[in-house]
Symmetry: C2
Subunit: 312 residues, 2 copies
């Protein structure tokens, strides 16, 4: 099954304590689509300017990412610039140039409207709504978000929650959205706002997954060094959604009931964590250009061993 991915496509300038690079391929849709492409075909919905490098287009195509939904319009591509402080735990946005993104209205090609598995990547909730409005009968809709939208577009975000099956956000955002200090309470409260499934990302502490009376604690991969955290969250969402899309192509029972087995969701969270853990090992999207299916399977097995212990 193809995965529909909406989000930003950007040219990033990133500075870490170790390195600085300009106009790297970035944006939530780029990271998510490439991450998902390890598991399923992807239909990408986004916008770029005429300055968007041809090599990025070729890279997307080499990853089996369909670009019929990528608008190429006059003007400059969205640009983001940020800097990570010495311990990589804090990020400062240095500049944002919206450029062609400012007037972006996502229009789905006809072939995309029947999408069953959908990732509304991190982008303004109004645009996430706009894509949802064009879908005929999506089976499972995953939304990613960030603190910015909680702060400046909360009503649209709350309306969105009632329309999606799964929300992905980080620990600080979950606390901000719910006013709860306890992440356990926050996760349950967000389920009450709409999505039947909630994933709370905790960075170096892994991820919590909340379902209907079900709960999963995914460990973090024990990385000693993070080279560049940019796009880790998008890779997590993309890997997760791509895994689910790959699982559901042949499941006849899906036309009958809405529920995805919690076991599939847990495995998807792990696959997302695996891809994110690779992505932070190198600058920009570099590691995703070389990682193999074999390496992904190997790391999945390591994730299984991280938290495993025997019965007494």
């Amino acid at each position: 099954m193809s995965l529909l991915v909406l989000g930003s496509v950007a040219l990033d300038s990133v500075k870490t304590p170790l390195e600085e690079r300009h106009d790297q391929l970035g944006g939530s849709a780029s990271y998510a689509a490439v991450a998902a492409s390890f598991f399923s075909p992807v239909n990408l919905v986004g916008i770029v300017g005429e300055d968007f490098p041809e090599e990025n287009i070729a890279f997307f195509q080499s990853r089996n990412i369909d670009l019929a939904g990528l608008q190429v319009v006059p003007g400059k591509t969205f640009r983001w610039s940020g800097e990570y402080l010495w311990d990589m735990n804090q990020r400062e946005t240095r500049s944002v140039e919206l450029n062609v993104f400012e007037n972006f209205t996502p229009e789905l090609p006809d072939a995309y409207r029947s999408a069953r598995m959908v990732l509304l990547g991190n982008i303004a909730p109004a645009l996430q709504h706009h894509v949802l409005d064009q879908l005929v009968r999506p089976h499972f809709v995953i939304a990613d978000t960030m603190d910015l939208w909680i702060n400046i577009a909360r009503p649209e975000l709350e309306r969105l929650l009632a329309r999606v099956d799964m929300l992905i956000l980080n620990d600080g955002e979950a606390r901000e959205l719910t006013g709860e200090t306890s992440l356990i309470k926050a996760g349950k409260k967000i389920r009450g706002m709409g999505p039947s499934t909630v994933a709370i990302k905790k960075g170096e502490h892994g991820c919590l997954l909340f379902g209907d009376g079900q709960f999963f604690s995914c460990p973090a991969y024990p990385l000693e060094d993070i080279y560049d955290p940019t796009g880790a969250g998008d890779c997590f969402a993309g890997g997760l959604a791509g895994h689910l899309a790959s699982r559901h192509l042949s499941d006849a029972e899906l036309s009958e009931k809405k529920e995805i087995p919690f076991e599939y969701l847990k495995q998807a969270v792990v696959e997302g964590s695996v891809i994110a853990s690779f992505n932070v090992e190198s600058f920009s999207m570099e590691r995703l250009r070389t990682v193999t299916r074999g390496e992904i399977a190997e790391r999945y097995a390591i994730f299984r061993s991280l938290g495993r212990f025997e019965d007494l």
Copy 2:
């Protein structure tokens, strides 16, 4: 096998947003000994004054805790008073009265000197050394510590690390001790300072365990509410050490080699987490007075399910 437990025995006055109580049984040795007593007999080493309530003595005895090493001397028992702020994440010490603790020199009864499994609970490193000096040939020594000793007794603490098999500390303390931001780096660095095994407690995020080329990520129990966090760390250490003591009584191979299988250490970390998760459900040590072996086994099984997922 009996577990030797050194630490403080105190009368605590604790205020939480919900409740305030005075002169509750507290101290690192009290919590650790009671936690360990679910798994093995305990020999407790500590000191109290003549005002120490007889009911606490009776409670220890009812838990199969030997008190030959508990000095009862003229004067008042050590008292600690603290307050938790609304979200239970921050604690303020309101007062400390050392009383009889001020001149405490732990003297082991002869029968204790042959102890094989030892928990040096959270107490001044000089006292931890003093107990070690009296042991004939301990098989596995676990030390618990806290930020206070890193700050005011670092040389003694560093000397202690070279003498123990396992160190338990929390995430902030691990960072402070090593100067590393990454907990993975910190855990490995502490192993290089002496202990072959290191457990880093992360509160609501669980616990990391570092061994020789081995690693374990223990999830946290998904508690919605914490009633009183006092003693959680001591219960973790005590449950862990008690479990190890219970495992090793009959293991003939232990006289031959020093190493405890990493699988035993993982299971011990889980048992410690189980006891700590019960302890924070009620005020003071209340929950440990009622919890049953069956409830402990049940929660161990829940811990197993928290992070479990299938192969693909």
